[in-house]
């Protein structure tokens, strides 16, 4: 899972601790949101926390007071069911208040079950029906190139989602148009609703397929900040082709009772699970404070 030629990441020890703390904070918010909502996608929200934290608190340009700022970088959450993770990060970044998070999925909430760009500031486009985000990202990347904009486009895909035919239509187009302002990140936790991705409909070898489609492909540990940041840096420096980061992740990451359990794809924590999860995340926080 190591990148062959990693680019050194310029990050201090304290900054790294801050990112790790941010990840725990986000996880606590995700778990609380889902518990209060009583439904939603726990596993796949928890598995993309480090990816989103890296993008929103270290890499991407944006202005929460002006969500439509022309020069911002764009993120498309193609795996829209991980909306709780995106909402927690957007709120943490200042797009809307923390209080709003506790209204998730409720009637009248501006936080819909799946991302809705008409309802939520910071959401670029509505997603939820799988397979469409990469093509949208292609259009954005092509449009930004045409405008000679230096903004970059990021798209997060699920591994079950890679079974959608549209993903491959889009992957072909990204390679064809040499979209080096585009970076796709695969949340490769190897679980989908009905079981293991490798059992249900194998997508492997995923790297070879994408290389054949004209992508620069990197495989990393999707929970290790230095690997993620190094890969994103390589993506930015790679010219003439788009970069695809296969992030090896753990579904339900950070809460032992949810980790690698297929059941928690689309199930929210009950009261007991909520208590256990918050306790574990609190312990992680204390350990981080003690040992860094």
């Amino acid at each position: 899972m190591e990148i062959e030629n990693p680019l050194p990441v310029d990050i201090s020890r304290q900054e790294l601790i801050n990112l790790k703390q941010k990840a725990i904070t986000i996880r606590k918010k995700i778990v609380k949101m889902l518990y209060l909502a009583g439904s939603g996608h726990t596993g796949g929200s928890l598995s993309i926390v480090e990816i989103l934290v890296s993008l929103y608190f270290k890499v991407m340009k944006y202005d929460p007071r002006n969500p439509q700022w022309e020069e911002r970088d764009r993120l498309i959450l193609s795996k829209g069911h991980a909306a709780p993770a995106l909402y927690a990060v957007l709120s943490e970044a200042g797009f809307f208040s923390e209080e709003d998070l506790w209204t998730l999925r409720k009637l009248g909430s501006h936080l819909q079950g799946h991302p809705d760009s008409k309802a939520t500031p910071g959401v670029e486009i509505s997603t939820g029906s799988l397979g469409q985000g990469l093509g949208i990202a292609n259009g954005l990347a092509l449009g930004l190139k045409l405008k000679k904009s230096s903004s970059r486009v990021y798209v997060i895909l699920g591994d079950g989602e890679m079974q959608e035919g549209m993903v491959w239509e889009a992957a072909m187009a990204s390679g064809h148009y040499r979209l080096d302002n585009l970076c796709a990140i695969l949340d490769n936790n190897n679980l989908q609703i009905d079981g293991k991705v490798s059992d249900i409909m194998s997508i492997y070898p995923i790297e070879d397929k994408l290389r054949a489609f004209g992508w620069n492909v990197l495989t990393i540990d999707g929970h290790d900040f230095e690997s993620i940041l190094s890969a994103l840096k390589i993506a930015e420096k790679t010219k003439g082709k788009p970069t695809f980061i296969v992030a090896k992740t753990v579904k339900g990451k950070g809460v032992s009772i949810f980790e690698n359990k297929v059941k928690y794809h689309g199930v929210a924590p009950n009261e007991e699970e909520y208590r256990i999860a918050m306790e574990e995340l609190k312990q992680q926080e204390e350990e981080l404070r003690k040992y860094g």
Partner: protein, 313 residues
């Protein structure tokens, strides 16, 4: 009378728009010669994107272009645009109310020889049912150009239906198109024929035949299917008491349904829906198929006559 295919008018209008506005981009799925987007492609190659034979991905890519601030015009055959790519249009264009203009060619049975697989008789229904979507069906080349330019002013997704075959030009350049408005193109008092697309011309000719038989038929061009002109439908229902709708589309879900939905609520009068009666198209020459499916002048006149005699019995 000049005969021009509405797809040809589209190709010309696109070039005119491209010259005027630098924020227009055009996407096609390997049918640019047939949809006539090739004219734009030759003139503005940097703003034309061929997406290959991948209509679903073309639609969501267009959504991405719109997010970057462009106005994308997206074209392929009507069945692939609205059928193959229906759910991507719903999710990635309409749900977020993204400013994408879908202009499909080869709608209806006048596709001709290619046969049923390529003849879209469902597209109006498929697009009309999606929230936020505008649906326009031009009657001739003049109206096509007016619509293609008008939709620039609408901030939201639009579907425009054009055809393959050459059809008579019935309007002159002074014709104005207004979204949400139909137009009475012939006055009458015994029956109102509300038609759309190429059936407007056939209905006008049918009204001439009916006149000789002592039946005075009012004809409406209902090019704006969504939003539909409720006021005008209610007005002609009140004035004539009988409505016939005519479309080159299934009798389910298209113009006939849209008109019935309006008058069923407010001005119930008998409605005869003329269209394709729950079946697929077949190969043949366009004009042969128009007669075969009873969408020609004489068939319309006959249908109107028998509809009126049934009601009057």
């Amino acid at each position: 009378m000049d005969r021009v295919a509405t797809r040809d008018a589209y190709g010309e209008a696109l070039v005119e728009l491209g010259e005027k506005y630098s924020n227009i981009v055009v996407l096609d799925a390997d049918l640019s010669g047939s949809t006539r987007t090739s004219k734009f492609a030759r003139k503005f190659p940097e703003r034309f994107f061929n997406m290959g034979v991948a209509e679903q991905n073309m639609m969501v890519t267009a959504a991405g272009f719109a997010l970057a601030g462009f106005i994308p015009y997206v074209s392929t055959f009507a069945i692939f645009a609205t059928g193959r790519a229906w759910e991507p249009i719903r999710q990635s264009i309409a749900y977020s109310n993204i400013n994408v203009k879908i202009v499909a060619s080869h709608a209806g049975i006048t596709v001709g020889e290619d046969g049923g697989s390529h003849q879209s008789i469902e597209d109006i229904a498929l697009m009309r049912v999606i929230p936020n979507m505008y649906v326009f069906v031009p009657a001739d080349a003049v109206e096509t150009k007016k619509i293609i330019k008008k939709i620039m002013e609408i901030d939201g997704p639009c579907y425009v239906r054009t055809g393959r075959s050459k059809v008579p030009v019935i309007f002159d350049n002074s014709y104005e198109f207004t979204p949400g408005k139909g137009k009475i193109v012939r006055e009458g008092k015994d029956v109102a024929i509300i038609a759309t697309g190429i059936e407007v011309y056939e209905s006008l000719k049918a009204a001439e035949i009916l006149e000789k038989k002592g039946i005075s038929a009012l004809v409406v061009n209902m090019s704006s299917i969504k939003p539909i002109d409720r006021e005008l439908i209610e007005e002609v229902a009140e004035r004539t008491g009988k409505i016939v709708t005519v479309e080159e589309h299934s009798i389910y879900g298209g113009l006939g349904s849209a008109v019935s939905e309006v008058i069923g609520e407010t001005k119930p009068v008998p409605v005869k829906i003329i269209g394709i009666r729950d079946r697929f198209g077949i190969s043949g020459k366009a004009e042969e198929l128009v007669r075969y499916f009873k969408l020609d002048t004489e068939s319309i006149a006959r249908e109107v006559e028998s509809f009126l005699s049934r009601i009057n019995d």
